[in-house]
Subunit: 237 residues, 2 copies
């Protein structure tokens, strides 16, 4: 069943984005009384469509499910990247259950944050996150946080890992197993060419633990998917 | 350093594909006596370039490394897919250390094998595998095997897993941990809409074990990357 995230709920009616009403009517070509799934406040509802032709209304039928709030949170921190790579990461990370994606200005990144941090781009990124959440039947849309200085990561809560090219002993597996009870896991990955020595040092001083993935050489856009896949696996029951 | 896979080695000279000579000369713009890495028979050599301008020769400088042959083999079995998705899987699976990729005709796949199994397509797929192997510094190029009937999977060796949509108890984690000593792990994933009940039954009769990934809903092209990531993680030292 098609799923949409609502903007708000007023009594029994869900208010969607304009684009979603258009999607229901003109793309999905739904009819009067057809049912859809609607998510708001991490809660899933069954809803039905009324007045398809004019002034469409989406009305609650029943509550289906609330998200367990005790789930672990996986956050990835990545450089500003070229459009295609970033879009790819946003979509795949959403499928793989990411909680928050931080975009971090890093020295070796080709894309500079100043050119990126524009409202139109953010809107576009958030649209990708919302659509991927609907497709993969999530009950929440990942958060996207654009930061403008690496120092802002100082106050990040939870386990903090940095993908290091220098570290040889401490595998991500060893460190995750040692910290099995933490609620939130943050992993920062560098751009092509990796983090600079200075950046890695800065992060370590802020409490990040350097880890290695073993001997695979992965492209920048593959790393977040690898991280999220293994975290899902590690905490699978 | 740039890496190339050689076609053969005659005494001290490596014979490359025509395209690679072109790449060295006109794309990388290398000069007389510049060094490159060359791989043949799972062995890595340092080599140098002679006669760049006319009748270029690639001459061995020294042997650098042979691949440990005791590595575990990860094979993925996937449906014939649309070009963009398949290209993506070939590239990412290579980065993540896949050994063999089987293309399997499956009922719900939109792309039919008859339209696909052409020499030009195979050449293209193999080129993607070779280039991704060079980029990710592998010592071998993954094999691509196009099969034309699911029954051919009968004789596949090693642990055989099928991504099931019905299985709820047996997670991939439980089954992999139970079979930790196997040399080869094969995992088959279905097209959009999954394997049919009949296909799943056929595979189970051939010795495939049905497994679940937990409750994530992944796109078809994300599944092989997820599988390879978690196998790398599980067998990481």
């Amino acid at each position: 069943m098609q799923r949409y995230f609502a903007l708000k709920k007023i009594e029994q009616e869900f208010i969607l984005e304009e684009k979603d009403y258009h999607h229901i009517k003109n793309v999905m070509r739904m009819n009067e009384s057809d049912e859809i799934e609607v998510v708001i406040d991490q809660t899933l509802y069954l809803a039905c469509i009324q007045n398809v032709k004019e002034n469409m209304k989406i009305i609650e039928v029943k509550k289906l499910k609330e998200e367990k709030t005790e789930e672990k949170k996986y956050n990835i921190l990545i450089p500003y990247l070229k459009e295609q790579k970033l879009d790819f990461i946003l979509q795949k990370a959403t499928e793989l259950g990411v909680n928050t994606i931080y975009l971090v200005p890093l020295e070796r990144s080709i894309i500079k944050e100043k050119e990126q941090n524009k409202e139109t781009k953010k809107e576009r990124w958030n649209r990708i996150l919302k659509e991927a959440s609907e497709q993969s039947k999530r009950l929440s849309v990942p958060k996207l946080i654009c930061i403008s200085n690496i120092k802002e990561l100082e106050n990040l809560e939870g386990l903090k890992l940095v993908c290091s090219t220098k570290e040889k002993e401490n595998t991500i597996k060893k460190v995750v197993k040692k910290n099995h009870l933490c609620d939130t896991i943050n992993v920062i990955a560098g751009p092509e060419g990796g983090l600079t020595e200075k950046e890695e040092e800065q992060l370590i001083n802020m409490g990040f633990i350097p880890v290695t993935f073993g001997n695979r050489i992965l492209r920048v856009e593959t790393v977040p998917l690898y991280i999220l896949s293994i975290l899902n696996y590690e905490f699978m029951e």
